[in-house]
Symmetry: C2
Subunit: 358 residues, 2 copies
DNA sequence: CTGAAAGCGCTTACAG
DNA sequence: CTGAAAGCGCTTACAG
């Protein structure tokens, strides 16, 4: 006679989760038989399958993943370390992971690093303690050395880093061709007629350095080298707003006609600061972001941006981990191609400017 | 002679994760001793602790959480089911969970439902198979009956639902006083002088019905009952945009002077549609959202909204689960208070309207 | 502190 | 199909 509430009596007081044994006893079959049924084996007669399943329901049996993993030495778990749950970029990559993982019959287990190295470290330790089939690291904030040390110790766990390229041969990576992305942004603006295109940097964020280098190269390629300018920024809205503020302060009326911002969130910060200052976008200044996360696609923002194929990056990450788990020995460095998405924050430069551009 | 790459040889080929046994052998102590050191017991001499720890490093030992849990029948894991990773609201609640869980020495393990009932169901099954200390459900999209059935089976796992109140006595809940939130929104608008305040509904989302009912009650309380109007909407930007579209179509020039929208994301959709239609906010129409997720706080949106204390809700959820795990038998229904956050999308109604409000 | 042992809940052969 | 057994990697007493 247990009421539902009795079920919550603390363990010490006797609550016990039903096991295979309980089911076997009730169904009048062997434990091995129950194990087969639970895992959906075909080598079981329909009659006994029925009895077992109904016994499972009756006692409320739920397989213990820990016991199963211990016995199998294969958890079927794919660990995902998300450095920052607030960044919509990662949510979309996780969609891709989810999609990639289903056909493989694995389960995604996530832990968040909360943008803090210590928390991330603990989360990663926990994930590794789960002895997962593999681990996907989304945008770690750990220093390269720390990350490698942490992963190096756990040995035979395939790890793939998305966004960030880790030096170690132990770690696969899936990242975007940052230089190509920067080229797309600059080319688009140059084609519209912009000559003075300033880059607001990502300040140490994953890929930011390559993005900035790509920008410089692109400016050179378009013969705009003397107009190239990189301002410190960051990957957050506040950083974007601050960078815009700094720019307004420094340039006064003589603003660049176009801004290529390190990512979408920062670009939103730029847009708001410019709006406050009464600087029209794209009338007076054009703005291009990076990522194409949903903020960019929001009709309210309607930001022209460089798309990262987030879903595909997730799929590729799963593929990399699974291959490595299956025995591939060489590290894989997958690089995906960006794509320009033109929305409403870019237009040809105003002809009536006082700065007078070429 | 194993190079780092050899570590990735598939299991079948002999890769094996180091165990307690390996460490004990290397350090020349018993397994029990290693176990004590690894768990940080004080009853170990410094000398042998040192030897053990260095052996751990040398062989790359990492405790197997599955084995530990199996032995302890306590995983120290708090499972978190996130219905939708894309909703910034949940990310902030998770921050609270993270904060609450650290002092308790537990680990957060997350799984995402991807807004799909089937995926959510599988994710929840997996979380329960981890035999966690407890489970926190953030905004389930499962039907009440399904959710209860799923949880009811797993028995002694404390479960708390955040945002959504589940009928079952088995499930604790942490939610906001929706009626009070609606009252804050309506009172704010009424004080500004608005009389025609339309509610854009959340259409079945968690809490939406109570929010709408709260709106009606508040309109009654403010003597605005005859001006009360609820339009179908939803909890997404697209739904908000569609609702605004519908409203524009139906009302023509005779728009309500204020909109109370079911949540922030939908409110952003409303703002963009209104902007496209050339309807000034707050000049012509005031808009209030719900949640105070970061989209609302964005300087670009600057949405007046009703704040849910997300961090606190996370903390309370952890507390509820832990208490229940410790033996509390009665279900707990925690209700938190909302708070009005005034930003730039609300203002007194225009006096120069052709609709002419009282 | 050590060492031997039992047990956690499963899976996996293996003989019948 | 059954039944008995070993083993996965730990923890937890317990006698020394």
């Amino acid at each position: 006679m247990t009421t539902p509430q009795d079920a919550f009596t603390p363990r010490a007081a006797g609550a016990r989760r039903p096991t295979l044994e309980d089911v076997a006893r009730l169904a009048g079959v062997s434990r091995a038989q129950v194990s087969l049924v639970v895992r959906g084996s075909a080598r079981v007669s329909d009659a006994s399958r029925e009895r077992v399943l109904s016994a499972c329901r009756e006692v409320g049996y739920r397989p213990n993943l820990h016991a199963r993993t211990l016995a199998q030495t294969e958890s079927g778990i794919l660990g995902v370390l998300v450095s920052d749950l607030h960044n919509p970029f990662f949510a979309e990559v996780v969609d891709g992971l989810q999609e990639g993982v289903r056909p493989a019959g694995k389960q995604l287990v996530m832990a968040s690093g909360g943008r803090s190295p210590e928390v991330e470290r603990e989360a990663l330790e926990m994930l590794l303690s789960l002895h997962p089939t593999g681990v996907v690291v989304l945008g770690s904030v750990l220093a390269d050395a720390d990350l490698e040390e942490l992963l190096g110790r756990g040995l035979p766990v395939p790890v793939v880093s998305v966004t960030r390229v880790v030096g170690s041969a132990l770690v696969d990576s899936v990242s975007i061709d940052e230089a190509a992305g920067a080229e797309l942004a600059v080319a688009h603006l140059a084609e519209l007629g912009h000559r003075r295109i300033t880059h607001l940097d990502g300040a140490g964020g994953a890929g930011a350095a390559d993005r900035a280098a790509g920008y410089r190269a692109a400016m050179r390629r378009h013969g705009l080298q003397d107009r190239a300018e990189v301002c410190p920024g960051g990957f957050t809205e506040a950083a974007g707003a601050a960078a815009a503020e700094e720019l307004l302060h420094r340039c006064g009326e003589d603003l660049p006609t176009a801004l290529f911002v390190a990512n979408d969130i920062a670009a939103v910060g730029v847009l708001s600061r410019l709006a406050e200052a009464g600087v029209e976008v794209p009338g007076r200044v054009s703005v291009v972001g990076f990522d194409d996360s949903w903020v960019a696609g929001s009709r309210f923002t309607a930001l022209t941006t460089v798309r990262q194929p987030k879903l595909r990056m997730g799929l590729l990450a799963v593929a990399a981990v699974l291959e490595r788990a299956a025995g591939r020995r060489e590290p894989s460095r997958t690089v995906v191609e960006p794509e320009l998405v033109v929305r409403s924050t870019t237009a040809p430069p105003a002809r009536v400017g006082r700065g007078g551009q070429g």
